[in-house]
C-alpha cells in the first residue's frame, strides 16, 4: 500500500484518465465486522454513477469513507488528482509538535529555577509562552506548507470531511441533516462557508471586504435556492419546510461549496412518484447546467435505471457487479442478491 500523503498533488489529467474519483482497495472494519471489503471504484468526470445494494450492504459506509467521515482500514482514494484519503498513520504525534516548544521551555525553567534570578524566570516564561503560541497557531491554522511537511517526517493524515469539501465534494445525508433552526438562506450560506474568505477579524472590524462578501453571498445563495426550486423561501426556517423542499434545500446547501462531485444519499427516499420525477429532472439539470458529476445511493430502481450512466452493486461489503444499468439488471448475481438464490 502506498503511503497516503494528503495534500500532495499527484497526477495530471493523463494519469487520472478523466476520472474524478478513484478508490483503490477500500476496506473498512468495525471491530470484527468487515463493513466494506477491498472495493475498487471509479467515477468518470461528468457522469452519474449509482451505488446500489440491499440494506446493510455497506453503501453508506463506503460513502462516508469517500466523504472523509471514516478513515478506511486499508485503501486509497484519489480525488480530483489528489491523494486524499487513506489510513492515518502516526497522526497522534501531531499535537506533540504543537506542544513541544512549550514543553521544552517548561523543562528548561524547571532545571534552572533554583539557580536563576527571579526576574530572569519571568523573561524565560514569556519566551516559552511566545514559542508555544506560535507553534500552536501553526497547528491550528495548518498552512499548506506545514501540511506538506508532515508526510516527510512520517505523519500521514487522512482528509477530514471539510478537507474533502475544500477539494470539491458536496454531499447530502440519508436522513435529512439540515440546520433545523436556521433559515433556508442561512443553511445555504453555511454551505458556502469554504467559498467565503472573511475571518473573525474581518467580521469584528466590519471591513469593507466582509460587508461586500456578505452581500454578494446572500445573492448567490438566493440563486442556489432558485436553482433547486425554492424561490422566495429564503426566510423560512428549515424545519418548517415540507419534506420534499427539505431534500431540495439540502442539495442547495451542498451546491454552496461549488462541488465538482455531488454525493446524494437516497435523494428520493420517502417521496411520492411526482416528487421523485421532479428530483430526477433536477439531478439531470444540475449535471447539465453546473457540469456536476453525481454519485447516487438509491433504492428506487426506476430512478437508478433512468439516470445512471454506470451502476455498481454492493452486497455484504463486496462489489458484486458493475456496468451500465442494462448490464447490471441482467446480471444473475445481482438478481440473487436482491431476490435470493433460485431454487434448484
Amino acid at each position: 500500500m502506498t503511503a497516503a500523503a494528503f495534500g500532495r498533488k499527484m497526477a495530471s489529467d493523463s494519469v487520472t484518465g478523466g476520472l474524478l474519483l478513484h478508490a483503490d482497495g477500500i476496506t473498512k472494519r468495525f471491530g470484527g465486522l468487515v463493513a466494506v471489503h477491498d472495493i475498487d471504484f471509479t467515477i468518470p468526470t461528468g457522469s452519474i454513477v449509482s451505488l446500489i445494494g440491499p440494506n446493510g450492504a455497506g453503501k453508506t459506509t463506503f460513502f462516508n469513507i469517500i466523504a472523509g467521515i471514516y478513515d478506511p482500514t486499508a485503501g486509497v482514494v484519489v480525488f480530483n488528482g489528489q491523494e486524499m484519503i487513506a489510513r492515518s498513520r502516526r497522526a497522534w504525534l501531531e499535537p506533540f509538535i504543537w506542544f513541544m516548544p512549550g514543553f521544552i521551555g517548561m523543562m528548561t525553567i524547571l532545571t534552572v529555577a533554583g539557580r536563576a534570578h527571579e526576574s530572569d524566570l519571568f523573561v524565560l516564561g514569556g519566551i516559552t509562552l511566545l514559542a508555544l503560541m506560535s507553534t500552536m497557531l501553526i497547528g491550528v491554522a495548518r498552512p499548506p506548507r506545514y501540511q506538506r511537511a508532515l508526510p516527510r517526517i512520517g505523519i500521514f493524515r487522512s482528509a477530514r470531511p471539510n478537507d474533502m469539501v475544500e477539494a470539491g465534494l458536496g454531499r447530502t445525508f440519508q436522513n435529512i441533516r439540515l440546520f433545523q433552526n436556521m433559515t433556508a438562506l442561512e443553511n445555504v450560506l453555511v454551505g458556502m462557508h469554504t467559498k467565503l474568505r472573511s475571518t473573525w477579524a474581518d467580521a469584528m472590524f466590519s471591513t469593507p471586504r466582509d460587508r461586500r462578501e456578505e452581500k454578494e453571498a446572500a445573492e448567490v445563495a438566493r440563486g442556489y435556492l432558485r436553482l433547486v426550486g425554492l424561490r422566495g423561501k429564503d426566510g423560512e426556517l428549515a424545519k418548517n419546510l415540507p419534506y420534499g423542499d427539505q431534500r431540495r434545500l439540502e442539495i442547495a446547501r451542498a451546491l454552496g461549496s461549488k462541488p465538482k462531485l455531488l454525493l446524494l444519499d437516497e435523494p428520493t427516499a420517502g417521496m411520492n412518484p411526482r416528487e421523485t420525477q421532479d428530483m430526477i429532472v433536477l439531478i439531470n439539470r444540475l449535471r447539465k447546467e453546473l457540469g456536476l458529476t453525481v454519485l447516487l445511493i438509491e433504492h428506487d430502481m426506476k430512478v437508478v435505471m433512468e439516470i445512471s450512466d454506470r451502476v455498481t452493486v454492493l452486497d455484504h461489503g463486496e462489489k458484486i457487479a458493475e456496468g451500465t444499468p442494462a448490464e447490471v439488471r441482467a446480471n444473475p448475481k445481482v438478481i440473487e442478491a436482491y431476490l435470493g438464490a433460485p431454487a434448484e
Partner: protein, 398 residues
C-alpha cells in the same frame, strides 16, 4: 455596560422584532435605526444609559441604599461580570460548548496584570499594553484548553473544563514563590492611561473606562454573531457532522470560540485586577464560573444583549439586594427573620431561580430568536402532530 440595560432594552429589544412587522411612529423609527446601524445603537444606548445611571445613582431611590460612589463602584464590578458573561456566551451560547471552567481565563488576565504592574514583580508596564497582553495570554490558554477537548462533547467537555477551572486557581495558590499564595499579589498599580492616573477612591474613571470597554466588546460580539464564523458556530451547535460535511473546519472554529471567549475574560481579569489592586486565587474559584453561567442562562443564552442584562441584574441582586434584604429583616425585630442571612443563602437562591427559570422560561429573560425556536420546537411539533393525526383518525372511523 452596567448602565446600558435600562435604556437599551427599549432599543435592542426591537432589533429582534420579527422581520415584516413594522412599528409605527417614533418607536418604529428607533427600531429601523437600530436595525440598520446596530453598532451606533449600542454606542448611543450605552452612552445614554451610563450617563443616566451615573447621575441618577445620587438621587432616590438609589440614594436610600448607598452612596453614589458605592453604586458606581458596584456598577464597575457588574461591568466585569458583563464582560465575563459576553465572553462565556460566545463559547456556550454561540458555539454550544459547555465550559464550566471559565474563571480560569479570568485568572490569567488578572495575574498577567499583577505580574506586569505591581511592586511584587518590580515591573510597571503601561496599562493598555497589559490589557491587550492579558487578553492574548488568556486566548492562548483558551486554545491550549480547547485543543485536547475538541473530541469531547456535552457532559465530557463540561467535566474536562471543570477540571481545568479547578486546577488553575490551585496552581496559583500553590506556586507561592511567584504568586504569594493565599495572600495574593497586592498593591497592584491603578491604571494610567496616556498620563491620566486613575484615582483610588473616586470610581468615575473606572466607570467610564468600563462603559467604553463593554460597549466595544458588545459591538464586536454582535458583529461576530451575524458573520461567517457566527453561522459556523450555530451550525456546529446544531449538527456537528453536517457542519463538517459542509466544509466547516470544526477544529479551528471551536478553537476560535474558545480563544475569543477567553480573550474577553482576559480583558475582564485585567480590569478587575486594576480596580481591586489585589489579585488572589479565591477570586477565581468555581463559584465565579457558576455565577457567570447562571447569568447567561438567566439573561438568555445566545443573545449578547440579554446576557449583559442578566449579568447586570444578577450581580446587583448578589451585591446589593441581598444585603438590603438582610438590613430590612434586621429592622423587623422578628427573631426568626432576623437570623436569616440572605447573602449566605445566595447560592440556594440562585439554584431555585435557575430551576424555576428552566421550568417556565428556559430561553431566558431576553432570548435569542434561534434559541427560542430550538427550545420550543417540541411544543410546536406535538401540536402539529395532533393536527395531523386528528383528521386521519376521523377518516378511518368513517
Amino acid at each position: 455596560m452596567s448602565a446600558a440595560p435600562a435604556v437599551e432594552m427599549e432599543k435592542s429589544g426591537k432589533i429582534k422584532a420579527p422581520n415584516g412587522t413594522r412599528l409605527r411612529g417614533w418607536r418604529g423609527r428607533i427600531s429601523e435605526f437600530a436595525h440598520k446601524h446596530r453598532s451606533w445603537t449600542i454606542v448611543i444606548g450605552m452612552a445614554i444609559g451610563s450617563v443616566v445611571l451615573y447621575f441618577w445613582s445620587a438621587y432616590p431611590p438609589f440614594s436610600f441604599v448607598q452612596t453614589q460612589n458605592t453604586w458606581i463602584s458596584g456598577f464597575v464590578n457588574a461591568g466585569v461580570f458583563i464582560l465575563l458573561a459576553l465572553g462565556l456566551n460566545i463559547v456556550v451560547g454561540f458555539a454550544g460548548l459547555l465550559d464550566l471552567g471559565y474563571a480560569a481565563f479570568f485568572a490569567f488576565g488578572a495575574y498577567l496584570y499583577a505580574f506586569g504592574a505591581s511592586p511584587f514583580s518590580h515591573l510597571h508596564l503601561p496599562f493598555l499594553l497589559l490589557l491587550v497582553g492579558g487578553a492574548v495570554v488568556a486566548a492562548v490558554f483558551g486554545i491550549a484548553l480547547g485543543a485536547p477537548t475538541l473530541r469531547l462533547r456535552g457532559d465530557y467537555l463540561a467535566i474536562v473544563t471543570l477540571g481545568f477551572g479547578e486546577i488553575v486557581p490551585i496552581v496559583f495558590l500553590n506556586a507561592e514563590k511567584y504568586t504569594q499564595g493565599t495572600n495574593g499579589i497586592g498593591g497592584v498599580d491603578r491604571p494610567n492611561i496616556f498620563g491620566f492616573q486613575f484615582p483610588g477612591i473616586d470610581q468615575t474613571a473606572y466607570y467610564v473606562l468600563m462603559s467604553i470597554v463593554v460597549a466595544i466588546v458588545m459591538i464586536l460580539v454582535y458583529r461576530l454573531l451575524d458573520s461567517r464564523i457566527g453561522r459556523a458556530w450555530a451550525a456546529i451547535r446544531e449538527d456537528e457532522l453536517a457542519a463538517a460535511a459542509n466544509g466547516i473546519n470544526t477544529v479551528t472554529t471551536k478553537l476560535a470560540a474558545f480563544a475569543l471567549g477567553a480573550t474577553t475574560a482576559g480583558f475582564a481579569g485585567v480590569l478587575n485586577a486594576s480596580k481591586l489592586t489585589i489579585v488572589d486565587p479565591t477570586q477565581f474559584m468555581f463559584q465565579v464560573s457558576f455565577v457567570v453561567l447562571a447569568m447567561i442562562v438567566l439573561g438568555g443564552m445566545g443573545n449578547p444583549f440579554g446576557v449583559a442584562v442578566g449579568a447586570f441584574i444578577l450581580y446587583n441582586i448578589q451585591a446589593v439586594l441581598l444585603k438590603q434584604l438582610n438590613a430590612v429583616m434586621e429592622n423587623l425585630h422578628v427573631p426568626i427573620l432576623q437570623d436569616i442571612d440572605f447573602v449566605k443563602f445566595q447560592f440556594l437562591l440562585f439554584g431555585i431561580a435557575l430551576v424555576l427559570m428552566m421550568m417556565f422560561r428556559p430561553e431566558g429573560l431576553i432570548p435569542s430568536q434561534r434559541r427560542r425556536q430550538e427550545l420550543h420546537a417540541a411544543d410546536a411539533e406535538s401540536s402539529e402532530d395532533l393536527a395531523l393525526v386528528a383528521p386521519d383518525a376521523g377518516d378511518v372511523s368513517l
